[in-house]
Symmetry: D2
Subunit: 351 residues, 4 copies
């Protein structure tokens, strides 16, 4: 086992951290060395997540007790605002460590934008510069060399994979993008909130954070880069759906330069022809989260709009896998020169 | 009991018919005289719907066995295409009967539009002329005098109640309306289809009938009337949600003449100030289907859009109640001069 | 409106309290005068439960601010351990007030048993004596005269209604009753607990509190009374089901004196022939919670067991209605000499 | 790839067949050669199950078109009654082929019992004799040499793994076993039935096939073998739960010879100490289906009963994996001398 890459997982008691552990524990090139969770420190992982009852894992420790010399890579599943300090600290002592951050702390390149959306001063702008936005299919080459990978949010992954190639190609008007997003409840995390109780979220649908969701900042940042138009503003309207996993984004776009829905679909098909995890569905087949549950796949398609000059772009993924832990592993594989699909090739679980 | 109004329900073995029976059985002015269901004729209702095990109801009969002399009003919960002939037949013999149709057969005023969307020749254009579109809050006065009331589809009810006052007031651009709609599975009815199996519809979200849903025709017809602009074309994109009841429509609109989201909200608040079943929520409170489940209420609100010059209009209802059987009873109450809220005042069931 | 009976609801911010309010707000003989919820005092009810957005209700107040002179009856939806002191206080000043308690505080007649199961000294044994166990169908006459009605727990209601007539008639061996119980998540209340989050309770089934559930004490107490055998011990094994409402109890019993499953069914049918809310289903029809959702009905039946000399008794109800708020209203109706079904006649909501 | 073992899957359009394909497609030693589905013959698999959109698979063919020379092993996911003839046919021409049957056709050793429960004459009693009951942990050695492996039903797998070691050891009275079983809806298959529609199975719990479920025959057969007591009769009462996957069996047993719940737990812990897929949970930890979803693991435990002399044995598994396709692969691995865990090591998917 000495050939394996040793990893640590910060924040292993959240859903994102746990899904990372689920995948990492069966990844042929990974050995899990450290698991942290301040509030559960001292407990075995199986006490915190009963689905780990079947295997042995390191006990949870406090972050300040973790031995970073024991790991080659660190996955961070902490809430935003906490990862910047820890990252600086780890790099200070172990500059060779690769950090794959699943929080929002290093996604935004502009400190002012970070402050506007997260209400906090950025605590590590010196390091921010070397962070690569970990949307694998878009930034693969930079990720290969990066020491710090800032994995995108779940919604941005779904939206950007379907819109960036279109924005780059000038096929859509980036000043008029309406994104109606739907997410399963796991996107809200494991912390106790009334609106994620079974009886509140079940048998119902609720819009939330309309016009205020923090993932807007990332989406705007990357659409702006892709289109070469600064100050992009989008509409992003998320809804909570009574399911645990899965995210579907329905983006309503205005076509540029006479493009048709078919042109958009072709552009995506071309862009992702060789991608292992992006499936542009056959014409007329609509993406569903049922197509991707528990997997690292993204399914997408483009449909004509009844209003002339518009089209509908739809994408679906599992928010905890391609939207978080799976993509983190994908980036890890890229960063360590492994086969990109290693350990994340599971097919979707249906039904 | 001789003072009660005697009703018949055509198509009592579907979800819509059953919900009509549920409400009618406890309606203080209704006596249920006839229940039809061709495929289940001869059975007691409780065998077809076990939640009626607690009460006595007439046994189901075939339509051609039904005694129309025994009823003052007929509620039709049949599939489209079958109601036109029956309606003509009933009117031929019993011209005084009131028919409250929950199917799509009399909703569209233009025979060509009916044919385009339903693929059938309209079979009763002579009667069509007297049909009133049964959106109670908009057509109340005409409903009071109508012999034939064509209750709107569930989606059109949610959409039109929130958009008609805005279109009438010229506050929105009716050429640029994008409606992202989400519905519980009961909207698809009780007939056996693979996509409505628990294992297929559960734990997932699926867009369907994108650009083709028949409710678009009604919405376009009524928006056109409200705005005074013929040939209105809208985007309407429905999604199937893993819940039984409930519908939420998120409409993305472009503002006209410098209007703001607040102006739209005020317009709705004013329009519905005295309406017993339409609730314009307080500023900032987002509609959820949890607010209306099992009830005849509609909840709506308007939210600013991050894209300048746009706003988001959200409305929620229970597709089987205000979206169908409840609104049918509301129209029945209006038509018979009863208190409009009679028998449909139940508060939402939560959780 | 001066003819109406004025009520107060203690603990209106829990699911039980809210369901009481839902029913009371439409009850023709009730006027809601006081709503308390310490943690939400000062708020309008619609802020705490959005499904009340459509109607006007008194704002929530702290218990110690409530004006008991303004009410004729008090419904208590507080957690156990808190109701005894309040009850004594109210009776001290307003001895005529009727108190209908939905907590466990007055259900157990023996202070030692109360202490054993609830870990608390009983704080009002002087009043306990006049408490009537509010299982309406069993104790109707005593309820009519009672000042203090201790409504049963949800599980005991389902179990006892189906077993008490059998135990009384000596048809089952009360020393060998195995009750496998299944409940929707609302039974766990609205307080924040990890196991009732959507993602934890969804798509799964979990036994809980096996051998320790407090409702065992009530069931044993009442089976003992019915059979005339003190010190009855039962098996009661509850499971959490991914649904919001509903409870189904499958009781495995050993037959006494040569009785058959049919004898048991006949006994129940006879016992409940005139009961408005208890439905003994036709032979072979199995109870489901879908038959009773949102209603005050109980469905039950008896099925032969493949093991000779045994039978299976199944009962289903809505834990928040017949299992709590609905039965509380039923008892209120009895206590105030009203029609017993007043305000709780809604048929089940299906689907 | 020529080293891989080539397999065929009969009945690939059902949930069981699909889950077999899901696992086989990623199994390092398997190459999928043939997929049959009579009603969908000619279609690509991705049209029948959209979650296979991401990979290439053989198109579906009719059974009579399948080329059995192309495969080394056949997995059968057909309905009972159809597999006996096909098995005989395949063996007639390709006697070396291994057949791993997931239907019920070869599970019962006694033709009379088969006829009693399935209403059909057994069509291949000559072959029946060599069928090994594919409960891997119990019959591993025989499976290694078998040409025909009859995988157990999902419920029998859950029940027998938890009870066989106890029956063998004489710790429980096999004449008094009450099994209350709960299953997700996928257990009912993908065929169209009203009771498995989302709106019927959702938000509710229904007992079904009480006293008549065909899995009783297998359970009785194997308990009889384990205890050495012919003519065992058990109680088995299944319930349909609103979830897609997962099965939990709560078995109520009478203790023999002064055994305690702890003795039973110890027996199981001992029996399964070296088993890769059976987890006897720590004392006091209750099995939940959430612990095993999407995986080949079984979780079990024993809990004391409040009634003296009784205990409660609980086991949980994923009905499509360990209860069907996963166990079939496990048996395949054993039969072909592969590492037993190959291709089925995925950890449970939670949430």
């Amino acid at each position: 086992m000495t050939d394996k890459i040793r990893i640590g997982v910060l924040g292993a008691s959240g859903y994102t951290g746990a899904d990372l552990v689920r995948l990492a524990a069966r990844h042929p090139a990974i050995e899990i060395g450290v698991l942290t969770a301040n509030s559960h420190a001292g407990k075995p992982m199986r006490e915190v997540f009963r689905h780990f009852s079947h295997i042995d894992l390191p006990d949870l420790v406090r972050i300040d007790e973790a031995d970073w010399s024991a790991v080659d890579a660190v996955f961070c599943g902490l809430p935003h605002g906490t990862t910047q300090a820890i990252t600086r600290e780890i790099f200070a002592t172990y500059p060779e460590t690769r950090i794959i951050d699943m929080s929002a702390d290093f996604r935004l390149r502009d400190a002012a934008v970070y402050k506007e959306w997260y209400g906090l001063d950025h605590g590590a702008m010196d390091i921010q510069g070397e962070a690569v936005y970990g949307l694998t299919e878009i930034y693969r080459e930079a990720i290969a060399d990066a020491r710090l990978i800032a994995c995108p949010g779940c919604y941005p992954t779904a939206v950007l994979l379907s819109l960036v190639p279109l924005a780059r190609a000038g096929l859509i008007d980036t000043a008029d993008i309406v994104i109606d997003a739907k997410s399963g409840v796991s996107g809200a995390g494991r912390s106790l909130k009334e609106n994620t109780l079974f009886c509140e979220a079940g048998e119902g649908i609720s819009p939330y954070a309309v016009g205020k969701h923090r993932h807007m900042a990332e989406i705007e940042q990357e659409i702006a880069v892709a289109a070469g138009v600064p100050d992009t503003r989008i509409n992003f309207t998320p809804h909570l759906i009574p399911m645990s996993r899965g995210e579907l984004c329905t983006s309503y776009v205005r076509l540029e330069g006479g493009a048709s829905a078919a042109d958009l679909r072709n552009r995506l098909a071309e862009a992702y022809a060789d991608e292992p995890f992006v499936t542009v569905l056959e014409e007329g087949v609509l993406p569903q989260t049922q197509m991707v549950r528990g997997s690292n796949y993204v399914a997408m398609n483009v449909v004509p709009d009844r209003i002339p000059g518009r089209a509908i772009v739809i994408s679906a993924l599992d928010n905890l896998v391609k939207g978080s832990a799976g993509q983190a592993i994908q980036n890890f594989n890229v960063a360590f020169g492994l086969e990109e699909t290693l350990g994340i090739e599971q097919l979707p679980l249906f039904p």
